[in-house]
Amino acid sequence: MSRTLLLGAVAYDPKVVTIWTGFRSWFAERGLDLDYVLYSHYERQVEDLLAGRIDLAWNSPLAWIRAERLARARGLELRTVAMRDTDRDLTSVIVVRAEADLHSPADLRGRTVATGAIDSPQATLLPLALLRGAGVAPTDVDLLRFDVGVGLHGDHIGGERDAAAALLAGRADAACLIDASLLLFGRDGTLPSASVRVLAQTEPYDHCNMSVGPAADRALVDHFGELLLSMSYADDSARPLLDLEGLKEWLPGRTDRYAALDGAVTDTGFYLPDGTLGADDYRP
């Protein structure tokens, strides 16, 4: 029997079981023995990846940042083998009510800014870094944080939805969202047409990646990566899994678009340089 490749994933939704069970049998049919472990939050998954308890981690961008820091501190090397087409070149936006007399990030001084959960890269860390870059420190605004699904690194959309609702209800002057949520909320009526305006937008950044642990069998992981990248949306045995996981195509992993998030983590002390948890009020 060939060696089993053990993958970690965070159970941010019950469908995660369906997804990885599906991938597991898809790989089994192609002769690769994949199994998975589910975590209730990313921090333990990252720690286990570094400790060699799992070979692969389906990591959020923030989890990747922490894994990299932990690895560097221990003199270990990490790499990534794949990411979704939908993980590339995302942006976050800060939106205000359409009629508000707010036209630049600086106008938000002294105003209430609604964000997602404390550990959401897209709805908290990156938009707040954008504000900082424009000279607006977190202490210059009233932060209204919606800590839904803490530990899931923003995978749970609930915090963003609450932030959007707060903006609409006048409890906040601005809300931080990922671009896909702005589109979704515009289409599902959470943010009625023409009710909000984009005040600022981040530079493009990358999202999740399939991180490889330091102890993983290189050849086996490469084979896993090749199979993953061979999954075709035209193949009806693969398509339902791709649909569930939200992609059309797996692409090679790349790690050069995480700099903005890494900077945000450093500036806020969310993680320390050696990868230990730094944010006082972060309780995954």
Partner: protein, 392 residues
């Protein structure tokens, strides 16, 4: 010059993707579409939308430019049609079509349908669409189709006979309701006219149940006797697992005989309500018989060897019922009383002769149908004689 579309002020929060999708439909993967528009969030929306749909937004283009992806086409690559039309049903329907409507384009990858019968020649009859149209046109409302106020006065000892016969009819209708309901749930919906016809048949039987029960209880507060032999006979019909054999035993032989019984009851009805309910039920039953005969004949035409299985089914049912009483004595006697109309000896003699003639009529009807299906006349006679004494 790339294709260009102008959304004017339409945003993706107001259906803008419809126009973009429509414009992309005419392009091949890799081709470019320039999207113009005045919606303030157009750029943000477009980027997020393209990412989700498997298109790419060219980061270097001056105006928002989509590079068309192929995911939407990939989804439908190799998608089959779920057959053709009613006039042209396929010999074998695919379980992979699932619940897709006939002739629809079926996206591959959905759950397969768990049904037993997927072969046309095991369930079909060319007349099914017409019979279904007839069935829907002839649905009647028990509340208004029968004049329930025309109760009339029936002598007590004749009313006893009516109640006993209605008790028997209800029992039969219950079996006749359950069988098509069971069959239709195991059928591939590609043969939907058969499914619809069976559904209409079940609805017919539901009405029959109602009107016979109502007539039985018109002057009484409870129904009559239920003989064990009659119930055993009906139950052998419920236990037949094969579509064609079930249809043959129930509709050709059973409901065929039942049809004569309903005509007989109509003729000898002691009151208007009895006459009405048996007439209305007989009209429906004729349709049930027509499908059973047409379907069984269709199967035999496709496979003459099937005659052997039909014969075996009749013999097996006969053997299973050999030790039972068949029709219960009370029902038979009640039919005589109804035909007699009174307990006068001369009337009873007439009634007795009428019931004998009824049995002969049932026999010749069965033989006629068996011959139509393809049995030689001597075999048709022999098989008809093996039919249950319980009529159905």
């Amino acid at each position: 010059m790339p294709t260009t579309i102008d959304l004017e002020s339409l945003g993706f929060d107001n259906g803008g993707h419809l126009l973009v999708d429509r414009a992309l439909a005419g392009l091949d993967p890799g081709e470019r579409l320039v999207v113009r528009g005045r919606h303030p969030a157009l750029g943000v929306h477009l980027a997020a939308w393209c990412r989700a749909e498997g298109h790419r937004l060219d980061p270097d283009a001056a105006a928002p430019t989509i590079v068309r992806g192929s995911a939407d086409r990939d989804r439908w690559r190799g998608a089959p049609r779920a057959g053709r039309t009613a006039a042209d049903v396929v010999p074998r329907a695919s379980r992979e079509w699932g619940l897709a409507a006939r002739s629809a384009l079926v996206e591959p990858g959905g759950p397969a349908l768990s049904v037993d019968w997927v072969d046309r020649d095991l369930v079909w009859a060319d007349i099914a669409p017409q019979l279904y149209a007839q069935a829907t046109a002839n649905q009647w409302d028990p509340a208004t189709a029968v004049d329930w106020t025309a109760a009339g006065s029936v002598p007590d000892d004749v009313e006893d006979a009516v109640v006993q016969v209605m008790t028997f009819l209800v029992e039969n209708e219950q079996a006749a309701l359950m069988i098509p309901a069971r069959l239709l749930s195991r059928l591939h919906p590609h043969y939907r006219e058969v499914m619809q016809l069976l559904a209409a048949q079940a609805a017919d039987e539901a009405r029959h149940l109602e009107v016979f029960t109502r007539r039985g209880l018109m002057h009484r507060d409870r129904l009559g006797l239920s003989g064990a032999g009659g119930r055993a006979s009906l139950q052998t019909l419920l236990e037949e697992p094969d579509f064609t054999l079930a249809s043959f035993l129930l509709s050709v032989l059973g409901e065929g005989s039942f049809l004569d019984l309903l005509h007989f009851l109509h003729r000898h009805a002691p009151d208007r309500v009895t006459a009405d309910v048996t007439r209305l039920a007989a009209r429906d039953e004729a349709r049930h018989v027509a499908f059973g005969v047409a379907h069984t004949a269709h199967v035999v035409r496709a496979d003459p060897g099937f005659l052997h299985r039909l014969r075996t089914a009749v013999e097996r049912r006969h053997a299973a019922l050999a030790d039972t009483a068949g029709l219960n004595k009370q029902v038979f006697d009640a039919l005589v009383v109804l035909a007699a109309g009174s307990w006068e000896p001369a009337a009873i003699a007439r009634g007795w002769q009428d019931v004998l003639r009824l049995q002969q009529a049932m026999d010749s009807g069965r033989r006629r149908r068996l011959e139509y299906i393809g049995f030689p006349d001597d075999e048709a006679a022999a098989l008809s004689a093996l039919h249950t004494r319980n009529f159905m």
